[in-house]
């Protein structure tokens, strides 16, 4: 059929437009700038300010922390609170006792003698999350959040989330290969059938209701789960944290998202400079990354069980005669693992590690308290 043929050509053309990994070998800046990630929590919960430094693109480490800084929260009402250095670049307070509606700023004195100060930001209340849901899409599923502010006062929102999901092995393993031989597992402590996986948000999730009559956020995307993912294979839970933002903070996050997550398309705007609300007092020409916000945090955890979900593992059973040589040849490499025993004739059933031991699929045995 001619149409089909033409269509194939079109597909070819579409496939021709391609992207490939590329490293243009740019020269990184020698200088390192301070990066401030801070939400001052006016609620009864804790506040954690995370201070890091920018890295060269070629640097091997993933994060360079700013240790040994003094971090102080100053109120317009001359109040002050100190955040304690708990290591790893984290500066922490159990409860800063901030007042809603009052303006606060962050003062940072780094170990190299530089002093940084943020603009004043108003401490605000975040409305609670209404609901979290799941939509099936042609590509898998989308977890979304609904929220609203009856007072129509919030308008700008940001979310972070933590994901937890259970994975199960294809085969339930009662045996373990150890020291050249096979012994029964001590269950449940040595169980490798049930594991959990954890993930945190890596992309910025934002939404606003500025163009709507009411302050309503409907089905803002939190996570896209691609078809075939193991996330929904057994049971899935998500904890969403909601932050209210003001317009400037929202713009900062939106710009950060555009610059770093939404580049490369045909019609995406050019990467542009990122302006936060922190300045270096000692050297005003220094670039500082970050935007200090101040809002309470609303959390909500939901579970999704038994979602009809097409998760497949392709597992085959290998029958291994119960003699030391066969067992050693077959299981010593670690690629195959035993899971069952058939006495007539004496045979171990084994399969590839991913089909037997859920830990080899990135799971841990650490069961969450809320599970």
């Amino acid at each position: 059929m001619k149409g089909k043929y033409l269509f194939l050509l079109l597909i070819m053309i579409a496939a021709a437009g391609c992207r490939e990994q590329y490293d243009p070998k740019v020269k990184s800046l020698e200088q390192s700038f301070l990066v401030v990630e801070a939400n001052l929590n006016p609620g009864p919960d804790s506040t954690d300010v995370f201070l890091t430094k920018t890295l060269k693109l070629s640097d091997p480490q993933s994060v360079k922390v700013e240790a040994n800084a003094n971090v102080i929260v100053e109120g317009e009402d001359n109040s002050a609170g100190i955040l304690n250095n708990i290591g790893g670049g984290h500066y922490y307070s159990n409860n800063l006792n901030l007042t809603i509606g009052t303006k606060y700023r962050l003062r940072i004195q780094t170990f190299d003698g530089k002093e940084y100060l943020s603009d004043y930001v108003t401490a605000r209340v975040t409305p609670p999350i209404d609901s979290i849901g799941l939509d099936r899409t042609p590509d898998g599923a989308t977890i979304y959040v609904n929220t609203s502010d009856p007072a129509n006062a919030t308008r700008y929102y940001r979310w972070e989330y933590d994901e937890t999901w259970e994975i199960n092995s294809y085969f339930y393993s009662q045996y373990i290969y150890e020291n050249g031989g096979i012994r029964p597992r001590n269950l449940p402590s040595e169980d490798v059938y049930q594991c959990w996986k954890y993930a945190t948000a890596t992309s910025i999730r934002l939404a606003n209701s500025i163009r709507l009559q009411n302050d309503v956020i409907y089905k803002a995307k939190l996570v896209d789960i691609p078809s075939g993912s193991d996330k929904l294979s057994v049971r899935y839970s998500i904890l969403a944290k909601q932050y209210a933002l003001d317009r400037e903070a929202y713009n900062f996050y939106e710009q950060l998202k555009r610059n770093t997550e939404e580049v490369g398309g045909l019609f995406t705007p050019l990467p542009s400079e990122l302006t936060g609300n922190i300045k270096c007092l000692t050297d005003p020409t220094l670039f500082v990354i970050g935007y200090v916000t101040a809002s309470t945090i609303q959390q909500k955890r939901v579970f999704f069980n038994h979602i009809p979900w097409d998760f497949r593992q392709f597992c085959e059973t290998k029958e291994v005669p119960d003699n030391p040589d066969s067992i050693r040849v077959f299981f010593s490499g670690g690629l195959y693992m035993p899971y069952a025993y058939n006495p007539f004739p004496p045979t171990y059933y084994g399969s590839t590690d991913g089909c037997v031991d859920c830990r080899t699929r990135g799971g841990t045995k650490l069961k969450p308290s809320y599970w």
């Binding site: 149409g3 033409l6 269509f7 050509l9 079109l10 070819m12 053309i13 021709a16 437009g17 391609c18 992207r19 490939e20 990994q21 590329y22 243009p24 740019v26 020269k27 990184s28 800046l29 700038f33 990066v35 990630e37 890091t52 920018t54 890295l55 060269k56 693109l57 993933s62 994060v63 042609p138 972070e160 948000a201 890596t202 992309s203 910025i204 163009r211 709507l212 009559q213 309503v216 409907y218 089905k219 996050y253 710009q255 950060l256 610059n259 770093t260 997550e261 939404e262 580049v263 490369g264 045909l266 019609f267 705007p269 050019l270 990467p271 542009s272 400079e273 302006t275 990354i289 970050g290």
Partner: protein, 920 residues
Amino acid sequence: MKNIVLLLPIFLLFASATYGQVSDNEKITDEFNNIKLSEFFSRLEKKVSYKFYYDAVQLDSFTIQLSVKDKTLPEVLQEAFKGTDLRFSTDDGSKNIYITRKLLIATELPKGFFNTKNDGSAGQATDSVADYDIEVRKTNRLNTDKIVEIGKKEDQKSGSVIITGYVRNSKTGEPISNATVSVDSVYGATTDMDGRYTLNLGTGTHLFNVSVIGMKDSRLQLKVFTRGKLDVDMDEEVRTLKEVVISSARTVNVRTVQMGVQRLTIENIKRIPTVFGEADVLRAITSLPGVKTVGEASTGFNVRGGSADQNLILFNDATIFNPSHFFGLFSAFNPEVIKDIELYKSSVPAKYGGRLSSVLDISGREGNKKMITGSAGIGLVTSRFNIEGPLGNNKTSFILAGRTTYANWLLNLLPDEYKDSKASFHDINFLLDHRLDSSNHIYFTGYFSDDHFALESDTTYGYSNRNMNVRWKHNYNRKLSSNIILGYDQYQYDVTSKKNEVNAFKLGFDIKQLHFKTDFEYFLNTKHSFDFGVSTIRYKLNPGFYNPIGEQSLVTPDKVANEQAQESGAYITHRYNPNSKLSISSGIRYSMYNYLGPQEVRIYAPGLPLTPNNLQGTKEYGNGKMIKTYGGPEFRFSARYAFSNVISLKAAFNSLRQYIHLLSNTTIIAPTDTWKLSDANIRPQRGQQVSFGVYSNLRSNTIETSVEVYYRKIQDYLDYKPGATLLLNHTVETEVIRTRGKAYGVEVLLKKTVGKLNGWISYTWSRILLQAYDTTQGPLVNNGRYYPANYDKPNDVTLTANFKVNHRFSLSLNSTYSTGRPITLPVGRYYYAGSQRVLYSDRNAYRIPDYFRTDFAMNIDGNYKVHQKTHNSWTIGLYNLFGRKNPYSVYYVSENGLINGYKFSIFGSVIPFINFNISF
């Protein structure tokens, strides 16, 4: 028989003779008291032995009031026609008298008409003829060595006279533009858009030659006595299957005074291979020196360092705001209706204004005046159809042409989940022209294009150009002619999203302009000629609306207040040729721009950045009230000094103003870019350019070479603050950074116009640098240093070649190399919001890898049997022959917490294409 019979296949030329030849002695005495001409003639017929022939319809408005006594017939007629434009000629042999208006009829065959070559006489015929220009048009098909006389010998004056005329296709009656008229083998004139030429000749004998690609050269000997008119019909070059050697003298880009002008005919354009095989006007443009694009999917082009919105794109005087389909993959111009294109990069004629960088003037064809014809084409993605022909008589012709894409139904073949996808476009051209009489011609242009795009989502994009205009061309006399144009242009787009029922919206934008323009051309004498005219445009802009869709949508309707403005201009150009070597064109255009109410104008504290904090208040203006006026003179000067017929030196200076701007902070023109009028807070852009060039023709004018150097400055160029939102922004001025630019470069062109192998090589070295300089606006881009614009590609080489293997088979090759465009790359990275992220610093400090692409096409024509119902042709080719993955962009993106660098190519492999055309 009261109508004129044209007895001969007369070679009709103008003659300024007033009286016909008469030899009769019959005397007449009579009283004619306010009688009609018909009665007058019938009474005379009773008295004398002559018979009158005339067009009753034409002459019915004349009455005769006359009393004669003992007068001869010629005397009577002379007296009767005194003060009118009626003329008579007598044929004494047949006793006929022909009455005509203005012009005379030859009643005798030229002396020596029946001479045969072998009788030993000179063998050349001399026609003493009259130009007859009424109902039946017979013109010269000048392919013989015939001598044609213009005027009458008795009236000959010494000195120079003006000869004008039209050059037309003998088969279709379409005017032929850009034909070269040469006299005594020296360049004389080039025909204009309507096929008209004006020559200034000394009286005496001349060798007259008209040549244009695709037509047989027309050649004849002229004997010029007085000024006159000479129309030429040219025959198409019939392609015979037998090899013929055609040698013709090609003329000359050395001679025109304009510089930085590029002309391409549709035949040139069709030979350039393009992706999907669609002949593409805008892609052809980008193969010319000094023209660049940012990337492959961008139809916007950059001329000599100008941004894409600084090009005025005209299709038959209609401004096309979005010249592309499919977001830039195809140009929105149907090659079937285009005659040729002209791109002015440097010497922008004073009659054009309103854009800073260039004018792209796309001329439509006129329809076939002799018979209904048409053509159809099938390509991979589009199919097209056009039909043209005369309407009623041979004074009116039309072209109706349309293109559409199949992509929409192709997408229906996709699996169910893609069912809602669609991508389609179409465009329709309707061109009409009507010749009222020899000096009045009316043209109508209608243009409509429409694009829809939705893929795998509930968001649809649509945009549309709608244009129409009427042009009246009038020739007052041989020296003065005018064009009057009245037109309406519209561009609109909308985006509809129903993905999320609560946020479902429709947003849109539209711009409308009503324009009126008069252009006069006045040809005083050999040395002086003038162009002058006035123009005005009323802009009405709807900068954006945002409305809810569906009952569940909570979207609050939003609308940015409508804007309107008037842009007017008056210009005069003086072309002065003091001698054959020097030619000077000096033009001045005064443009004035009025930003008009109703509007609420925001007033900011003077001298402070335009930010919401510095807003002092607003002021209301009523409908039509002038809010802000900008204006000033624009200078257009160019001069040429020809050292000889084959080498010349040119210089030009230009200044321009632009009052309307495209708001865009993407690299290429995006579907949601909107236009903005200059207002109280956004100033018009201004630009100046100075350029020099050397032009030389080699090898008997078969090779054209040129080198041009230019330097440009741009003021009040619009750049935007980081992360600026431009769509539906009620205070766009707060996002604008005032920027200035400088551009300079060298362009070298080598063009072979004739022969089996023809084409051109162009090389450009150029820079465009921008600078944010207004320190009152907060932090400056790159700390106020100059930085390259997105389309700064210093080195650019293009080769376009066509090789004619035989008459039915030709090969085309197109190859282009350019420096990669500048991009902003990260200088570091950091961890934020759960992911590694990149740190950007200086804008456009890096470049993507260099671009290199070669395309190849074969054109196969069907057989050339003259008498068959249809003719067909095939084009088969390969785009990106070497399958090079030319990057469109290089970028770093944060994915799953990590930074990944990517190179993105739009066409990263060889793309084969095939096209089938059929004409009937």
